[in-house]
Symmetry: C3
Subunit: 148 residues, 3 copies
């Protein structure tokens, strides 16, 4: 046991923080129902899959349409969703992509009513960089804890 200087490089820390900030922006876009901007945080050929969905959404148009349909249903019912990601681990891959695993909660509030914990899930992403260097989801898999 020693108490030597810590080994995490600034690069490690910066990448973790960059992914965290990227996810915060992404979830705020989704919850604001900025569906096209939300879809633009995925790669053009990005895939969103979840064990609670009948089929994956492939490509930005499909991802935007799925978000819009879900947002319209919530609005019609007077519900507000907030997506929280946390307990994030990131691993830079040799090919330049980034593997990220996190927990994700959906907090649901009824207008004029109560807030409840709607879903507990695990989110596994492969992230790549767009031409301007910004992060994009190439592949997302969301696994609900209530589905075995």
């Amino acid at each position: 046991m020693t108490t030597s200087a810590h080994p995490a490089t600034a690069t490690d820390a910066d990448l973790h923080t960059e992914v965290e900030h990227y996810y915060a922006r992404q979830m705020q876009l989704l919850d604001r129902r900025s569906c096209d901007e939300w879809a633009a945080t995925f790669a053009p050929d990005g895939v969103f899959d979840a064990n609670g969905l009948p089929a994956p959404a492939k490509g930005r148009a499909a991802i935007a349409a799925a978000a819009k349909a879900a947002g319209d249903r919530l609005a019609a019912e007077g519900l507000v969703h907030r997506h929280w990601l946390g307990m994030l681990t990131v691993t830079a891959q040799p090919d330049g992509s980034v593997s990220a695993r996190s927990y994700a909660l959906v907090i649901q509030t009824q207008l004029g009513g109560a807030s409840v914990l709607h879903r507990s899930t695990v989110c596994e992403d492969r992230l790549v960089r767009g031409e301007d260097g910004s992060l994009l989801v190439l592949d997302r898999k969301v696994t609900r804890d209530d589905i075995a």
Copy 2:
């Protein structure tokens, strides 16, 4: 699509982490009922506003008094509150201030009883720096999700 080096500067990442750490200290002070220290994390002329309050609290004395009144009510009822901030986005402004937007939850626990999700809110802050360089809230607006 490329996998080039990521564009986030260390400065970007450091500011995000600094704000996150500042919020963690601030929420711990509030939940410990260290009301004067909580108020000192606001600018002397700082404003705390919320759509669930009858009027904004302006200045440190008013902010401390509001926290004390709320804390006293909770203690009398045997309730513990924990404020969680997350999904934080920060933007450095040209004038040196920082805009921060985050989600905030209030977790409420009854002594000898259950923990529940009490509130889901959005917190929008303008942060400035005190003379020693530390962050201070100049203006906070908290919006409860259950109030349209």
Copy 3:
């Protein structure tokens, strides 16, 4: 009031992010029931104490055994736990150790059923470095909010 350059050093920010990433890995190991790997994130003579436990677990073997027993009980009941840490403050100590205080939630999901907020707690750690420089818990104290 000034808006001068922020005073947080890269080292401060990097340590905060390093501890956050370490906790994310640690909680993912616990929730995956990787009990030996979970125990290896503690110092060989590490202590896990909680006001909800009859006695502290001392040393990696005891810490792994306690996690396995808890995980087996959950699996038998069809329950999934996710441990979320947040509102983390870290303080580097003169002796090279790190004091960390955070909030911790346990989110519990019934397979085929609902997700609920199971516990709200405060987690206080003393962290040290192993021979390879990685962080290890020397001493952890978890305090449930529902126990006075």
